[in-house]
Symmetry: C2
Subunit: 332 residues, 2 copies
């Protein structure tokens, strides 16, 4: 059986991503599921990988992609949770940009009847990232004042819903004035980065930072007593989809080190995480399968691109044009 | 009216603490309460101050002490929450080692009928420290695995009760094998520091560190994914009640700096706080008065010393002889 698959064969431009045909093995192992992929989620980490800046990526050539949705086409004899023809989503731990994928059963997730396959492909990474930030690190609760600096992205859309659901107050930032309306629709306060700086708002119990670099310094300052700053990325290292060595060095140099003695004196918390590393932890993932499947928050689909047009999908995301999630569509 | 008060007039030995007579002002302001002090709580921070190592202490000579219990002797005309003769406890923001104290009403707290005045003087600092660590920074919940490295101290006793109450699992450490029984009585697992290192236990969701220095490094390593390390002190800088310059420099050098990029790669959280700084924040304190008053966890009284014998009280605490709380008793 043949699958189409998109590979990173050299680091650099989105135009260098290559579509290839690849043979799938004929026999499933007893615990495996064959999924015909309808949609593959695109994440900012995929761009970081394409630029050669993702330390834990496999050696080239490799297929990026951490999530898919589609339909079960075949199952191994020990598989009990799925039947052929069922709609599913899955975390793929690389390899998600493909038209067919074989996965162990525990990586495959049921799709709630309320969501489309487009939404299903937009859920695993962004939902889990927002969940880990807000409910593992932050453990937010009613009354908390929460700042989301990537409010219009895939993670931000889930985060804004979770904050409202927890009874906390969300402040959402965006680089573009035209996206403020989108943030307001989720019941959050909306600011451009410039407006927010001028606003003098402070006293945040929790801040989700996706940019790294110098932005961490100013956000640390506006934490409340016992406030928590959580960093999930270093987007400042990437300038308009290019890995500028200058931007990278600047972002790394400006990303702070925190002396414990300073944290003690100032009563603050700093942390960071890489959601993709949780996908690699089968013990953790198995514990959270039901929570992901039962999730009722919805992604916002910001762009659906044909798989063959993956370069446009990457450029759309890296130029910060998207609101919500960007996904690839496979035709069958 | 005369009060007795204990002053730090020079930095150094516990023997240098001086008992003095001091005139109290005759007239209370409208919002003030005069408390006849029965007990003054002794905290490790008082020792740090006596050694001249507490940055935010007032200029010498000054009276240390952050908490008292006693009886209301007089009230200003706007005071509504208290009547003369009522038992109270209070956070004093320095000045607690004294036989009478005048405080603004908001710093004074009702004493739950279930606890003695000895217990009341042992509550504000230790209860709040454990609360801030576990329920503000940690926000622990059922199923969490929690390590308390000062399990037999005043903070530890409250922490062990709170962890059990939350349905989490507590691991308590002590420097002395003879104190393990004490930890077990609170429903926690008990280890000496050496036993714990050999045990290979890891995967902690929350670690409360009171020692600073090199201990932070090994505790960071045994954090779970999304685990939180909270530092509340630098006890390693103090060796057997002496401010050894060598111990201090060593502890400060060994107390780590955390690069944000490392936290992101390793999915961990680090933080610290100084509970006494929360006492200085009237907005925060006013919000938490009811919670402190309604607290039903109990301190363990580890030593009651006559106020005149304050030097022995300090030595007892700094030589880690105490289990639970050390307090001073004032005779009236």
């Amino acid at each position: 059986m043949q699958a189409q698959t998109i590979e990173i064969t050299k680091f650099g431009s989105a135009q260098d991503l290559e579509m290839k045909n690849k043979a799938l093995k004929e026999e499933l192992a007893d615990d495996e599921v064959l999924v015909e992929v309808n949609y593959s989620g695109v994440n900012f980490a995929d761009i970081v990988m394409r630029l050669g800046m993702y330390k834990d990526a496999p050696p080239k050539p490799f297929t990026p992609g951490y999530e898919v949705s589609g339909v079960v086409k075949n199952i191994g004899k020990d598989v009990t949770r799925f039947t052929v023809g069922e709609s599913v989503m899955a975390g793929t731990r690389f390899g998600g940009y493909t038209s067919f994928v074989i996965l162990p059963e525990w990586q495959v997730l049921k799709v709630n009847a309320d969501i489309t396959l487009e939404e299903a492909a937009s859920t695993p990474v962004n939902f889990l990232t927002a969940y880990i930030a807000l409910h593992e690190f932050g453990r937010i609760r009613a009354g908390d004042k929460v700042l989301i600096d990537c409010a219009t992205g895939g993670v931000g859309v889930f985060a804004l819903q979770m904050i409202k659901d927890a009874g906390a107050t969300a402040f959402g930032l965006t680089s573009s004035p035209s996206k403020k309306e989108f943030i307001l629709e989720y019941g959050a306060k909306a600011y451009t980065h410039e407006e927010f700086e001028k606003s003098g708002e402070k006293g945040f119990d929790f801040i989700l930072n996706s940019r790294g670099g110098a932005s961490l310094k100013s956000q640390y300052e506006i934490l409340a007593r016992s406030g928590k700053l959580v960093c999930i990325g270093l987007q400042e290292a990437i300038h308009n989809g290019k890995s500028s060595l200058f931007a990278k060095i600047k972002a790394v140099i400006q990303t702070p080190w925190y002396p414990m003695l300073k944290l003690v004196m100032q009563s603050k918390s700093v942390s960071g995480f890489n959601a993709l590393s949780y996908f690699d932890d089968d013990v953790w993932m198995k514990k959270h399968i039901k929570m992901i499947e039962d999730n009722t928050f919805k992604p916002h689909i910001g762009g659906v691109f044909k798989a063959a047009d993956v370069a446009s999908a990457h450029e759309f995301l890296e130029q910060r044009k998207a609101k919500g999630k960007v996904i690839l569509k496979w035709d069958h």
